[in-house]
Structure formats: C-alpha cells, structure tokens
Subunit: 164 residues, 2 copies
DNA sequence: TATTGTTATACTCTATAACTATA
DNA sequence: TATAGTTATAGAGTATAACAATA
C-alpha cells in the first residue's frame, strides 16, 4: 500500500519542491544583496513599479501590486525620507498623492538594477547561456500557468497561507 | 547612463526573479492543498523527516532541519495529539525522546504524498514529460550551486532575511 | 456619504531567553 | 555543571479596523 503510493511519485525530489526550495533561497540572497544598499526587496519593488508607471496614487499602486494600501505607507515614507520619491499632491483632488521618482531615485534604481543583475548571474551561475534561455522558456510557461503577473513579486500579494 | 545600466540586464524578467515568484506561489498552493488535511507545510516536512530517519531526538531532528529545537515542540505536539507520532522516552537517558511514526502516522504520510504528487502535477502541468526531466536537471544543478540540502525545506532554516 | 491616506490595534510567527528534569 | 525538552517573553511583519482630511 505505501510502496504503491510511493510508486506514483515521479521523482524523489520533484520539480515543485525544488522550485520552492530554490525560490526561497534566491529571495533570501536577494534580500541580503539589496540590504547592502539599505533597502529591502519591498522597497526595490516599489522603485521598479513607480518607474514603470509614474504618477499613480497610493491606492492605485497598491491595486497594481495586489496589496493593502496601508502596507505602502511606511515603505514610501522610507523612500521619501531618502529623497528617492516624491508624493505630489494633486491640486484638483487634494486627497491624491501622485508618486514620482526623483533624480536621486532614478540613480538609486540604477543601483538596484545592478544588484539584480549580479543576483541573476549568481543564481544561474552553473548554467550556460543556452541553458539559461532554455530555463527561461520553461519558467515563463509555468509562471503563466500559475497566473503570475510579470514583474509583480508575490510577496506583495494578499494570501492567507504560510510564507514558506 | 540609465539606458546603459539597463542594457547590462540580460532579460526583462530574469530567471532569478521568475524562480522567486514561482517558488513563492508554489509554496502558497502547497500550503492550501496540505491545509485540506489539516496540516501545514511544516507538519508535512516533519512527517517526511521522521519517516526518513526514525528514532532521532528532537535536538537531532532540529539540527538536521537546521532550525531551533523550540520550534519543533508545538508541531510535534500537534502530530502526537493526532496520533501520528510517538515520543518514546529513552530508558537509558530519560532526557531524550526518540521520534517515531505510528501506524496512523504512516497512513497520514501516504495522504501527504498523494497531496505532494497532485501538487507536482499541478505546478508542471504545462510541460511535457521530456521538459519536466529537462527542468529537473537544470534545477538540480542550481540547487546544488546554492548549497541546498535535498529534501530540507528552506522554511526551516534560520535566516535573518525577509521571507519573500 | 464616499474616498485617500494615515495611524492604531490585534494577530501570527519565530527567535531568544528562562525554566524543569534528568544526568 | 551540562544537556534535552518545554514554556515564557519579546520582536518583526502584516492584516484589519478606526481615523482625519477632502470631495
């Protein structure tokens, strides 16, 4: 009975488990790297998002990232205090803050991009360029199948489930 | 300058980011599935570990999973209360508990294996069998490069970093 | 009254530090 | 005193609920 169940499993350590293991470790390493410029992964995600679509309100940005707007406040406070972003109050409807990167913020984003590129090279170090492209094709299809939004980190999403 | 930095990035959404995204989502889905039999991913990991190496003490098991022994107490309480495991006190040194799966625990582990197999099929649904094998080869090499212990979920590890 | 942004509260998770019982 | 297991304490992170300002 147990051997029978066992036989149904395709591999000792399946792709799904490997993906979870690797994903968690890659996230942890990215967190360490991005910590080197005094940011968290969440901060870096906001810089990317604001650069991609400047002028959004906090509510609109939260909707894009599929997270609660309350979560953004402290993160944006940090970035604003650092001079990386501006909250421009809309004169026509003074409840809205339009989010924009400053000059310094654009420079900081360049640093983030450099960190991300180094991270990318690190994680895929044992693969050849052809294998990286192969992997990218496979992963893109899985990401699509799982309904993942390109560029939106799942850490922003509102799940009930356990993190690991 | 910024365009120059951008050009260094190999792809819009690199493999590292995709791995993080997919890993987090896969973990979340597994958590939902395993919740269907009133367990968390952590509980299921303990069942696997105790089955793989029965008779370990709680300290020894914690060391294998690279986590604090205090973290295991409540999880083992749950499994014991459910009749899935036993803490057998060692008569020669009565400080040690030798951990063992019960008959019921073996049955529960079979259910966990079925859930894991369904999860595996779900995550890799869009791939052919040949592609799954290809992916497995690439992921195994990356996991090895990242120093991951086969079968040990990173969720048990003691990092300081952010979870996502 | 409805909406934007903010602050406050409560809850979960976990790391660390006491504590007990055995040796 | 040293170790295995347990319990208690404290901290981080976040989801939810209240709140103030504006429309």
């Amino acid at each position: 009975m147990r051997a029978n169940e066992k036989a149904r499993i395709p591999r000792r350590h399946g792709n799904a488990f490997l993906l979870t293991q690797i994903g968690a470790r890659a996230a942890q390493r990215y967190g360490e790297r991005i910590g080197g410029i005094e940011l968290t992964p969440a901060h870096s995600g906001l810089l990317f998002a604001i650069d991609r679509e400047p002028g959004l309100s906090q509510q609109a940005l939260a909707a894009k990232l599929d997270t609660a707007a309350t979560r953004l406040v402290a993160l944006l406070d940090d970035l604003e205090q650092r001079g990386a972003i501006e909250r421009r109050r809309n004169p026509e409807d003074r409840r809205h803050n339009a989010l924009h990167l400053t000059e310094a913020g654009a420079g900081l984003l360049d640093e983030v991009r450099a960190v991300a590129a180094a991270h990318e090279r690190d994680v895929t170090a044992p693969l050849t360029e052809a294998e990286r492209a192969q992997l990218h094709g496979l992963l893109t299809r899985i990401a699509d199948h799982l309904g993942l939004t390109p560029g939106v980190h799942p850490g922003y999403r509102n799940y009930g489930g356990d993190c690991p």
